[in-house]
Symmetry: C2
Subunit: 96 residues, 2 copies
């Protein structure tokens, strides 16, 4: 978490997450269901990086995601996170 | 459509789209509901480009999307498209 700014702002499908503690709480459940990830593409410059990858998770076998991070002073101050929640919602409905 | 390869393969949230005609049929309804777009980031090299942008659509006010395209011989042969279908499904449920 040392590369995450204390005042990080992250826009994710479910809404805005503000602050490193909230960011950690947001990421923790995802890391727990993560079974693997394959990088599709990654580019960036000194301030901004964009990555697209396909994740394999316990409930959803292929869940592609994209992330755009802004780095300032060696820390991520801004993150935008895009993935499709629909298959996760469908899996949740199926398992009850 | 001249920059779209006849045999384009596009992976979108709802599944794989194969061929320029199917790709056009996939994009057409989206273009119709598109009210605006703001670029978040775009990077690439001679073969691959990744863009993230926030779109404003008629049913969903903020619908961020990411796209990764592979270019071969001046045409897009491969596209990966990520966005969250959940708010579109919610809007559809609301309007019936």
């Amino acid at each position: 978490m040392s590369y995450i700014a204390d005042d990080i702002i992250c826009d994710a499908p479910a809404g805005r997450i503000e602050g490193a503690a909230a960011y950690r709480d947001f990421m923790a459940p995802f890391v727990q269901i993560l079974a693997g990830a394959e990088l599709i593409a990654a580019f960036g410059d000194e301030h901004t990086a964009v990555a697209m990858y396909d994740t394999e998770t316990v409930p959803v076998k292929s869940a592609p995601a994209a992330e755009c991070v802004t780095v300032d002073g060696g820390q991520v101050t801004r993150s935008r996170f895009i993935f499709d929640r629909a298959p996760f919602e469908a899996a949740r409905r199926e398992t009850g």
